[in-house]
Amino acid sequence: MTAGRSTSNRAILWLVVLAAFVVLMALASFLTSGDKIRGLAPIAVTAIGLIGVFVVYLLTARSDAWEVGTRQVVYMAIGAALYGVFNYIFNTIPMPSVSQVALRPSVCIPVFFGYVFGPVVGFFTGAVGNILGDFITGWGVYPAWDIANGLMGFVPGLIMLFADKKRSLNFLTGLVAVLIAITAILVFLNPRVPGPWTGEIEDFSFWAWAFIVGGVVVIAGRFVLEQASVDLAAINLWGTLGIIVGIGFAAISDIWINGYSFATAIIGEFAPAAGPNILNSMILSPILLAAYQAIQSRTGR
């Protein structure tokens, strides 16, 4: 009880510190037209993101999804070790690749562990697994990519916050529809912006239509997959969202950290990483889930 209270006090203290920091950043930005906070802007955005996650946590604090007991600790460790080992192995042994799509199947591990054991296990599996993989291969430490890999496991785990998988799919469908609508409206309202390649003003209204078509395909895909199985639709859609959020986070943070242009972040990082990862995850995660469910029903655990 005391330990729980002290954790909660510490969490509130951190939240207050973060909130104060964001207020100070906002004030600095307001007083200096944003010019003098340059390097601290990413920290402020990260802090706002963390506060957002914390608010979601507070609203759903009673859910089993956030429980961390012995079971979760062991699955976190196993998930992270598996992800690290697979990352190392599939980066080391010669693997076939089709066109530019390298076969890196290990991405299904954080998605699967998040989906089955919850967001905390998923985040730990992705983040620590990535650290482990980089340690074994000797590539160093990249905090933004560690968090990105964590998010790839965290997001699929959020399915545990819903009463059932069908409701989670309805929520996702609604979310996709709203996000696409907002993006398309924004593009239609302001279609002429500087192009990433030329820097000259170009008309981007085509992309609004591309978003709308993409959204319709995703929503239709949900219903097609659901015909086969709700689990298949759920792990694929939540997994895909996790990969987009995770890789998107890394690509955007690299604009600040490494100074990439927006085009570099999208063409050089987001597309080549997210595309193959989504494909690998959509094929392997359902196979892993089916094998796990078979074992679960056989052992009764």
Binding site: M76, I136, W256, N258, L279, L284
Partner: protein, 293 residues
């Protein structure tokens, strides 16, 4: 498959430092270096990173693979940023002085016209970006080679991670050799059945699907085996009280000095950036080149 850690016991100044102090210093340098685009300041940070690397006494032989891969990524990304216009953040530079214009080049198939403006600002930005990325990389690169894997649990506990998470981290590091061996056994078993991982045929979907005979048995075996570990830990009342660690970490004078240096660097960088020092610096020679061409 034998999985070996990159860590080797070396009697170096870097390895004698507390890992917590080193991680805090690395983060302080990371958050400092990203506040500047001035090449002269970036070079100071590169100097700090190179000094740390030199003190770690790593050999080219052990880090060669990492260097090749990292250099390829850094050069590719820097070139791509150079070709795709204004890099980083919008306010890195506003005005551009043209040195040379290449193109317009016509892309095959799509027929898009692309022209590349080589400007003084863009060129110096690319050099600064290169230096910044190498600084960040070198700071992180030494960690796997110089921090003992058996200390990670205690290190992150010491940095404020709750007991359960720190223990999970410790456990994950211990599972790695076992899972590497399990993977090896599975690979050999599947090969004995005629499975050839090097010669997967078919389209991309079927090729990915054919990796399942390697991935699924190792993962499911690990999960099934986890039940015994969970039972054993529960029987020993895991998580009831605070944990103790076999190897305790204590800050010494050098560690405190390193943390203080990290804090000082971060505070100084933030103040300098706030008063407007450290924006993109364009050498006069480059500007002269722009005006004469």
């Amino acid at each position: 498959m034998l999985i070996a850690w990159r860590y080797r016991e070396r009697d170096t100044i870097i390895q004698r430092l507390d890992p917590r102090a080193r991680i805090l210093f690395m983060l302080a340098v990371l958050f400092s270096v990203i506040q500047f685009w001035d090449l002269r300041i970036e070079l100071v940070f590169l100097g700090i990173a190179v000094a740390q690397y030199a003190l770690a006494r790593l050999t080219w032989r052990e880090t060669r693979r990492a260097w090749i891969l990292v250099s390829f990524i850094i050069l590719f990304m820097t070139t791509l940023t150079f070709l795709t216009g204004r890099g980083g953040v919008e306010y890195a530079y506003y005005e551009e002085h043209l040195i040379r214009r290449l193109g317009p080049l016509s892309l095959p198939i799509v027929g898009w016209q692309i022209s590349i403006n080589i400007t003084a600002e863009k060129s110096i930005f690319a050099v600064s970006q290169l230096v910044r990325m190498y600084t960040i990389t070198i700071m992180g690169l030494t960690i796997p080679y110089t921090v003992d894997p058996s200390l990670y649990g205690a290190t992150f506990r010491g940095l404020g991670l709750p007991d359960k998470f720190a223990y999970a981290m410790d456990l994950a590091f211990r599972f790695v050799p076992t899972l590497g061996r399990d993977f090896s056994i599975t690979l050999d078993s599947q090969r004995a059945r005629g499975y050839e991982v090097e010669k997967l045929s078919g389209g991309i979907v079927s090729q990915i699907r054919r990796l399942a005979p390697l991935l699924v048995p190792v993962t499911i075996n690990a999960i099934v085996g986890a039940e015994d570990i969970i039972d054993a830990m529960d029987l020993r009342a895991f998580g009831i009280g605070p944990r103790t660690w076999v190897r305790q970490l204590t800050y010494r004078r050098a560690d405190k000095a390193l943390i203080a240096a990290g804090v000082l660097i971060f505070v100084a960088s933030t103040v300098l950036a706030f008063i407007g020092i450290g924006k993109l610096w364009v050498p006069d020679a480059l500007l002269r080149l722009a005006t004469t061409s």
